[in-house]
Each structure stands twice: as C-alpha cells, then as structure tokens.
C-alpha cells in the first residue's frame, strides 16, 4: 500500500497540477512541490525508522494482482539500493520544480504533469520487481521526458527529442524480447507463467541462451547509462532539454540504466554477465576517457557538462562489472553524487541561459565579476565533479577504483587517468565562463533567494556525501551483500514464501 503510493502520488499530483494550472500557474508549481516534499519527508521518515533488513536485503515488499493469467503482478519492493535512488529522485524532483519556477512560463500545467509523471515512472522503475511491470514503467518514464524536451526545450529540441526517443525505444525493444523470452523459458520449465523477479532468479539456462537474453537487457541499459558508443543521444538531449529536464535526465534517468545492470543483468544472468564483463569494463574505461576529451572540446556550457556524464557514468559501469562490495558501493555512491554534482552544473547552466540567453562559452568569460555567488556555486560543483576528496564524487570514484583494482588492475589504472582528465575539463569550464576578462559588459542579477536556497541544499548534500558517506554506505550495504551472495537470499525468500503459503492455507 505504501510503496504503491510512492508511484501513485506523483502520478496523481501530475493530473492535479495540470488541472490546477487553469486557475493559476503558481498552483501547479505548489502542488508539485508539496506532493514531492511530502513524499520525500515520508521516505526519510521510513528510512530513519526502517527495521534492519533481512538476509535478502529487502526492507519492504508488496504485491497486487494485475494480469493473473500471465503471472503478471504489481510487485513492488524496496531495499537500500532502491531507497537511495528513490530519495535522490525525489530530492532532484523538488529541485527541478524549484528551478522551473520562473523558467517555464508556457503551459506550466502540462509541464508539471509531465515532470511528475516522468518522476513517477522513474520511482516505479526503482521499485518494480515484476519484469513486465518494470518494462511498463520503463516506457512510462520515457514518454513524458520526450514531451519535456520537445515542447520546452531549446533550439534543436525536436531533433534531440526524437533521437532520444529512438535510441531508447530501439534498445528497450530488445529488452522486451528478452523479458518475454525469459518468462517463456520459465513457463517451459515450471509450467507456470510468471514475470516475477524472484521466480526468474537463479534459473538454469543454457549458456548461449543466457548470453542472448542477457544482451537484450544489457544493451537497453548501457544505451540508457550511456556507455560509449551508444551515448550520442545524450549530449543532444541534455543540451536541448529545459533545465529541469536536464537535471532529471542526468540525475536520475541515467541511473535507471545502472540500476538495471545491478538489479537484473548480473543477478539474472551471472555467468553470461561475467563473460561480458571484460567488454563492459573496456567500454567503461573508454567512456571515462572519451567523455573527458569530448567534454573539454565543447564550447557549449551544457554540452560540456553533458559529456562529463559520459565520463562519470563510466566509473559506474566499471564498478558494476567489477562486482565486489567496494566497487558496487562505489558505483551506488557515484550515482548519487553524480546526480547532485552534475545536476548542480546544469542548474548553473540554466541560470546563465536565463540571464545571458546563451550557452556559448565563447560569449562568456569573466562573469565572476558580475556574478560572484553564481561563480562560487559553479566552482563548487566543478570541484565536486573533478573528484576532490571531501565531496561525494571522490568517495564513489575511490571505492570504484578500489574494487576494480581488486578485480582487474589494468582497468583501474587506466580508469584513474580519468581523474587527471576530469581536472582538465572541470577547470576549463570555470575558466571559459567565470574567469578571465569580461567578454562583454553585462548587467545581470546574481542569485536570488529561491535560487540560493535550492543550490545551498545541493551543496550541503554533496558535502554531506563526501564527509559522512557512511549512512549511505550502510543503507546500501545489506542490498549489496544480498546481490553478491544471492544464495542465502534465495533460500530466505523460498522459506518466507513457504511460510506465507502455509499461512494462507491455514
């Protein structure tokens, strides 16, 4: 009941916001803010009061019938991993509403509806344990995002939105085929249709069949992540999306790809995933270096930041396929920290665009003199992005490298070169925009109260992740342990299911 509300509340609030906008645009904003705020408050309360998870790592689980004929249920569950990602989604959702407050003036109702529906889809993706439901929500988050880019985006919005849509659609079609194939194989061996994660977990599969099915999931997720060479939708989509869209895209939508790899690809197909690990880690390292060089080469502020995502998500991919505790913890931490640091840079990009009506850094330079506070904020997130110890990204990158080093030293060493490259692209961003001589005299307003408030929240979050990462690591630990050692988790689940069925019979 409560987990379903996590999805239903933003979805319903989206409808309400749409209707409310007819009375006043501010109403749509307030409805969105209150809904997301209440949900985040509820989630934090749940987090603080959560009982210790069982051996299988799950904190809460619920199931509703949906299409019983095909064994499709609304099966939702939350463990440390999904809890963290849902919290990140809500936090960035609130920030997105706040940053759109004056930026979005056309169709504010429909805008907020799409924003909230997209968030509902993302939250659902993080909670769904039925593969059919997962796919349904995976599509659900995509369509509203398409509208966000295509309607409220910048110059090239139609091209970028369609490109984003086609890349994601084509790859998720492969995933749908794999999901159906997997369920069919389950049906053949047990005689019962089921799309349930737990039923499909630990299934015996012929190696080449497992490889084929695994690749369907794998491609869908690495396109979303994105990994080189499937990343080319990202710079376009991020650059042309409105600020809130970029924040949600980079902050949470990319994370659904990483989440899928962690939750589905490796647990469902452990052997096939191990076979593909060297390739995946090669793509990861390639992404780290390629993204860094491309980021440096950009003259568009947003496009530069977009390419840094390719580099940062490379660390996540590396951590996932190193597949040990340090690496996974690092990957999770990197996902959360990247959401905030890159989100912060996109916010600055949006604020600059609102004031200067350009993202072209050749027309910026020396802005610190006019906008010292915004400059300080940009500098802060750039420093976070280059992985300075004391901020969240360092914890993630360090743990990923530590884990990858244990797994395969060569990958860790080459990936570490990305830390040098990160300095180059992060600092050139600041140099081209805020440092140097004032390109043209501008008279613009520095940060206002609302802007300062949400940026300060982001800054505090990144510092907290960097200096006291332990609560996050501790939250993720049982989930990570259960992923690494699925045996006891499967056994515990079997026992629980048996007890439940006994209960039901009695």
């Amino acid at each position: 009941m409560m987990l379903a509300w996590l999805i239903a509340l933003p979805a319903a609030a989206g409808v309400v916001a749409w209707l409310a906008a007819r009375t006043s645009p501010a109403a749509a904003r307030w409805v969105s803010l209150v809904a997301l705020g209440a949900e985040l408050a509820w989630l934090v309360a749940f987090w603080l009061g959560a009982p210790a998870p069982g051996a299988d790592g799950w904190l809460a689980e619920e199931r509703y019938a949906w299409l019983p004929r095909f064994g499709i249920t609304v099966h939702l569950a939350v463990d440390g991993l999904s809890l963290l990602l849902v919290a990140l989604t809500l936090f960035l959702g609130i920030v997105s509403v706040a940053c759109s407050w004056t930026e979005i003036e056309e169709h504010p109702g429909f805008f907020h509806a799409n924003l909230l529906w997209s968030l509902a889809g993302v939250i659902g993706v993080f909670l769904a344990l039925d593969l059919f439901l997962f796919f349904f929500l995976w599509e659900l988050m995509l369509v509203p995002m398409y509208f966000l880019i295509a309607i409220w985006g910048h110059e090239n919005r139609i091209y970028s939105a369609i490109k984003f849509f086609i890349f994601t659609q084509a790859s998720s079609l492969l995933m749908l085929a794999s999901i159906v194939g997997l369920a069919y194989l389950g049906f053949r061996s047990t005689g019962v249709w089921s799309f349930d994660y737990f039923d499909l977990l630990g299934m015996e599969l012929a190696p080449n069949v497992a490889m084929l099915l695994m690749l369907g999931f794998f491609i869908a997720f690495v396109v979303k992540l994105p990994a080189v060479p499937f990343h080319t939708w990202l710079p376009d989509a991020h650059t042309d999306a409105p600020t809130a869209g970029s924040v949600i895209l980079a902050g949470v939508l990319l994370k659904t790809g990483a989440y899928g790899l962690i939750r589905f690809v490796v647990p469902l197909f452990p052997d096939a995933a191990a076979d593909v690990a060297p390739l995946a880690m090669t793509l990861a390292v390639a992404g780290i270096l390629y993204g860094a060089v491309l980021a440096f080469a950009q003259s568009d502020f947003k496009r530069l930041v977009a390419y840094t995502s390719v580099a940062h998500l490379g660390f996540v991919l590396l951590g996932v396929f190193a597949w040990n505790e340090a690496a996974l913890q690092g990957a999770i931490m990197q996902m959360v920290a990247h959401g905030i640091s890159t989100g912060g840079l996109f916010l600055v990009a949006g604020l600059l665009q609102q004031r200067l009506h350009t993202r072209d850094m050749r027309r910026m330079g020396g802005l610190w003199a006019e906008l010292p506070r915004m400059g300080a904020v940009a500098l802060f997130f750039a420093i976070g992005s280059l992985g300075l110890p004391g901020l969240g990204n360092f914890v993630g990158e360090f743990l990923v490298l530590l884990g990858a080093f244990t797994a395969t030293r060569a990958f860790a060493v080459v990936a570490a070169l990305g830390l040098v490259a990160a300095v180059i692209y992060s600092l050139i961003l600041i140099q081209r925009s805020f440092h140097g001589d004032l390109a043209a005299p501008v008279r613009v307003r520095d940060l206002g109260t609302r802007e300062t408030a949400y940026l300060a929240a982001m800054i505090l979050a990144l510092v907290w992740l960097g200096l006291r990462p332990q609560p996050v690591l501790d939250t993720a630990r049982p989930a990570v342990a259960a992923l690494l050692e699925p045996g006891p988790a499967i056994a515990a689940r079997d026992a629980r299911l048996e007890a439940a069925s006994l209960e039901a019979r009695r």
Binding site: P235, P389, I428
Partner: protein
C-alpha cells in the same frame, strides 16, 4: 591540551567557512579578525600542545585523537583520526607559526584588494587542509589534505582571475600535480588491497613483515607514492608548474609555494620512510631526483630576471636538498632543512613582496636597484634570508641544515661522492644566484622611485620574526665540530630512525664543513665580481651581457621542459580534442539513417505506376521462384 589537537585544523576551517558564508559582505576589519585570528589561535594552540608534548611523560610516544569514521567498506575503514608524533609536531608548528606570520602580513599586502574576504577564505582553507595533511594518521585522510592543498593552490594562483595567464598557471599547477596525485592514489589502493589498511603505522609494520626488501610490490608501492611526492614538491620531472605558480599573490607564494605545501612531498616520503627502505631502487631514485632537481633549478635560477621566479627555482632546488637527504636516509636532516627553509624562504618572499608592493608590482630585478638606502628594513630582511639560503657559515640557520645534508650525502651508506658533489656545486650556484639578486636589487644607483617603506606593524612583525628565526633557527642542531647540539635530531629521532652514525675522521668532517663554507662564500664573491653594479658597469650592461651569453637561453627556459611537454602532451591532447569535437561516433548513426533513407527511397523508386514494369517484376519473380523450386 593534546586532546584539543583536532581544533588546530578545525579553527582555520571554521574561519574559512564563516568567510565564505559572509559572501563578501563582512567589513574589512571583521575579515581580518576572522582570517588572521583563526590561524593565530591555531598557532597558539599548536604551541601549547607542543609544550605539553615536549614536557610530557614520554616524548617518544605518539598521540591519536579520533573524530569518528569517514569511509568503511568491507574490511577497510578510514577514519578522521589525527596523530601527533615528533615529525608531525615539527610540521604542525612550522605550518601554523609561519602560516600565522604570513596571514598577518597579508593584511597589508592584500589590504586594497577587492577580493579581500575571498583571499582569506582560501588561505584559511589551505591552512586547514595542510594541517590535516600533516596530522592525518591514515593515508586516505592525508590524501584529503593533499588534494585540499592542491585545490587551494589552484584557487590562489588564479586568485586574480581576470588575467587569463593566471588562470592558465593555476590550471597547469592543478593538472601537473594531479598527474602525480593520481599515481599516488593508485599507490594507496595498492597498499590498501595488499595490506588491508591505510593506517600509517600499521601499514608500514605490515609491509615490513610481508614484503622482503627489494620485492617488486614494495618497489611499485614506493614508486607510486614517490610520483605523488615529486608532483607536489615540484621535483623533476613534474616541476614545471612551480615557476608559473608565482602568478599568485606574493603571500601565497610564500606560504604555499615555498614554506608549506611544496614540502608535502618531503613529508610524505619521511612519513612512509619504512616503505622506501624496503625499496632500495626507489630510495636511490629519491636521491637522484633530488640531486638532479637541485642542480637544474639552481642553474635555472641564474637565468631569471623576475624576482619571484628566482625564488621559485630556488625553492625547487632547496626541496631537492631535502629529497637528497631522504634518499640517503638522513631523515632528520631533511626535516631540519624543511624547517630552516620555511623560515628563510618565507622571509625572502615576504621581503620581495614588500619590494613589489613599493614598486607598483614591478618584479623585474633589472628595473629595481639601489633600494638599500630607500628601504633599509626590507634590505636587511632580504639580506638575512639570502644569507641563510646561501648557507653563510655559522651565523645562518641554512648553514646548519645544509651542512648536515652534505655531510650525510658524503658519508651515509646510501650516499656517494657524486651526490655530494652535486649538492656542493648547487650550494655554490645558490650563493651566486641569490646574491646576484641582492646586488642588482639593492646596490648601485636607484632605478625607480619606490613608495616609502610602509611602516605597518603587520608588515614589520612577520619580517622581524622570520629574520630572527632564519638566524637562530639552526642552533637546535649543530655539527660535532661546533658543539654537537642534537636537540632536533633527538626529538625527530623518536619518529624517524636516526641517521646511521657516520664515524668520520675529524679531519674529513672538518674538510667537508670547510668545503660547504667555501662554496657559500665563494658564490657570494663571484656574485660580487659579476653582478655588483658599478659606475662603469650599469645594470643595463649586466643584463645585456647576460642575454648575450651562450648558455642564457637554456637557463632562462630552465632547459626547455615546458616546450617539451607542450609538444608531447598538450598539443596532442588539443589535437585529439579538435579531431573528436564533431563526435565521430555520431557519424556512424548518421550512416545508419542514410542507409535507411536510401533503401526507403530505393524501394519508393520502384513504385512507378507503369504497368509494364510491374508485369516484368512479377514475371521475373515467378521465374526465380520456380527456378529455385525446380533446382532445389
């Protein structure tokens, strides 16, 4: 008091946070009070802690103060714990005391700057990071401080952000040192995965147990840490950032790029000395890198005409001495030279800063001149600093520390004649280059009209205090011939193994000391002969003659490392970025789109509406199908 150790880094950190939060709105006096006061309190606390440590029950002990955990994953955990032993005590004292004096000086130097609060916010942040670096009891926390000082170095080199050249220098410093830092991080990961901890003492003890001396893994670990040390301490081959770092305000050069941060490499090697002992080839590399750096930098300093660049190369050269000492196992001598160097080099920079300020930001020594009469206080301060740098015998602190290093280079088991000779030649060159500056800047006819020497207490106190320290700072340790005082090595000896007792015949020892003294005094004499402006040989003539010399281009460009790196790293990277800017991967997908469009157009072209084409197509299809059916 020792239980308050955590306050030492936290006070400047708090100062920095408050200054940042004030968003440039606090009045000048408040900024000074917070910026300088927080460091002053930290210095006072450090002195009180030192008094307790020295008078304590057992000076050999080390104290640990825990502040909770930072990162714990699996078997590994890294906490916020600080530890104090004799080595970190010396570092902490020098950092806080010299740091406080430089902060005080900055009140005057930066007084007119629009970024006054930002300056002190960065400086305080630097102090906090530097203190974490020297007090950390595990290497990951040390790395936090290590990267933190690197960040502050970047921020302060590029403090005057309007000039793109400053931004370039700042980024260059960050990128070059990051290259070393990344190697160091891999070294830390190697240590953590192999030894299961990064707690310094535990890790070193385990390494000594698990790894035989000279084993590959010990060599790899030590070499990776050395890469970090070389970058931070501006030694060959990662030294190119330091001269450019002089773009920052002069107090920054004094604090970060002379007295404290650049010596962090020395501290790292000393802190993990047991690891270097396990890796003899790497320890030899430390000595050779030190010797090469000190020679190269001393030569390069001769070719500079910017007073701050002279001092920058001098810093690189003096840190070379520290590396030389570390490489031959004279741990305590390295730390001793760090201390005296911090005093006299900070003094030189602050005196140079006073000149620069009085001359409207003129830094070219050939446009100064005759300042002895007009700025007597600054003259004496600079002279004392120059004397200590040149190691004028008996009366300067630099003499005692440098003499100890040269003796060790000659006599230590890992030393050798060549290392000693390099040190001796560089000692001579040091005298020449610094007195070249002294003679050209302060003697001869006046070249420019300076402002009156500022009479501000905040300027006088640091110069006076550092002058005194540059003279008496060496008396805590004297060679056997001169009283054999061993306070310093006794103290540091509780944290670092004593240098192997070198039993030298008294005659040899005296000759070594004489050679060092002769090098110092000979250098001054040569400088007097070559560079003292006289009526018949003006500064312009001296400059002209220098430029005409065949070795001048090599010296002035410090042997062309910048050009080399530009060709090997910078330009290929820029070329790669240019080549990839258009996103070649996307052309792949464009190709796919083109293919789809072409086949769609191709298929569309067959729909002509002409009956005979359709009939022909049907006929051909039918023939093919029947043909296949028949033949198959």
């Amino acid at each position: 008091m020792i239980e308050w150790l955590w306050l030492v880094p936290l006070l400047p950190l708090a100062g920095s946070v408050v200054l940042m939060a004030s968003r440039g709105e606090a009045p000048h006096s408040t900024v000074s009070a917070i910026g300088v006061g927080s460091v002053g309190l930290a210095a006072m606390l450090a002195i009180a802690i030192a008094a307790e440590f020295l008078g304590g029950v057992d000076a050999a002990a080390s104290y640990t103060v825990g502040l909770g955990g930072w990162i714990a994953v699996g078997e590994l955990s890294f906490g916020y714990s600080l530890s104090l032993d004799a080595l970190s005590l010396v570092m902490m004292l020098v950092v806080t005391v010299v740091g406080f004096l430089i902060h005080l000086y900055s009140i005057v130097y930066m007084g007119e700057d629009e970024g006054y609060a930002r300056f002190f916010a960065y400086m305080n942040l630097f102090m906090a990071a530097m203190l974490v670096l020297v007090l950390a009891d595990n290497l990951l926390l040390l790395y936090l401080g290590w990267e933190g000082v690197g960040l502050c170095s970047y921020l302060l080199i590029g403090f005057w952000y309007r000039d793109p050249a400053n931004g370039y220098a700042a980024r260059k410093a960050f990128v070059v040192t990051r290259a070393g830092d990344t190697a160091m991080l891999i070294g830390l990961i190697l240590l953590a995965t192999e030894l299961g901890t990064l707690h310094v003492d535990t890790a070193l003890a385990r390494a000594a147990e698990q790894w035989p001396p000279g084993s590959g893994i010990a060599v790899a670990a030590a070499a990776l840490l050395l890469a970090g040390a070389v970058g931070k301490s501006a030694q060959l081959p990662l030294h190119t950032w330091l001269p450019d770092a002089m773009a920052g305000p002069t107090p920054v050069s004094a604090l970060i790029h002379a007295a404290t941060m650049v010596t962090a490499g020395m501290y790292l090697v000393a802190r993990t000395h047991a690891l270097f002992v396990l890796a003899p080839p790497v320890q030899l590399a430390v000595a050779v890198i030190g010797a090469a750096s000190l020679l190269l930098a001393a030569l390069a300093a001769l070719g500079q005409s910017d007073i701050k660049r002279i001092l920058a190369y001098s810093t690189m050269s003096q840190i070379g001495y520290m590396f030389l000492a570390l490489g031959v196992g004279a741990w305590s001598a390295a730390v001793f030279h760090f201390m005296t160097h911090a005093f006299f080099k900070a003094l030189l920079f602050l005196a140079a800063g006073a000149l620069i300020l009085a001359l409207h930001h003129e830094q070219n020594i050939f446009r100064m001149g005759g300042l002895r009469r007009r700025m007597p206080g600054v003259f004496w301060a600079f002279l004392i600093g120059a004397g200590a740098l040149a190691a004028v015998p008996l009366v300067t602190a630099g003499f005692y520390s440098k003499e100890q290093i040269l003796t060790a280079a000659w006599s230590a088991e890992r030393g050798g004649t060549w290392l000693w000779l390099a040190g001796l030649v560089a000692a001579f060159l040091t005298s020449v280059y610094i007195f070249r500056a002294v003679f050209i800047v302060f003697f001869g006819p006046p070249a420019a009209r300076p402002h009156a020497e500022p009479r501000r207490l905040a300027l006088f106190i640091p110069l006076a205090a550092l002058s005194v320290l540059s003279v008496i700072g060496g008396f805590v340790e004297t060679p056997p011939l001169l009283g054999r005082i061993t306070w310093f090595s006794d103290l540091v000896g509780s944290a670092l193994p004593a240098a192997p007792p070198h039993e030298l015949a008294p005659g040899v020892e005296a000759r070594l000391a004489l050679a060092a003294a002769a090098a110092a005094l000979g250098g001054i004499a040569v400088a007097w002969w070559l560079f003292l402006p006289r009526p018949e040989r003006t500064r312009e003539r001296i400059a002209e003659r220098e430029r005409g010399s065949p070795v001048y281009p090599a010296l002035a460009s410090a042997f062309g490392f910048d050009r080399l790196y530009d060709a090997v790293f910078v330009r290929p990277f820029l070329g790669l970025a240019r080549a990839l800017r258009g996103e070649p991967v996307d052309r792949l997908y464009d190709g796919l789109v083109w293919l789809l469009r072409a086949s769609w157009q191709g298929a569309g072209a067959t729909q002509t509406g002409r009956l005979r084409w359709y009939a022909a197509g049907m006929l051909a299809g039918g023939v093919i199908v029947i043909g296949i059916a028949v033949l198959a």
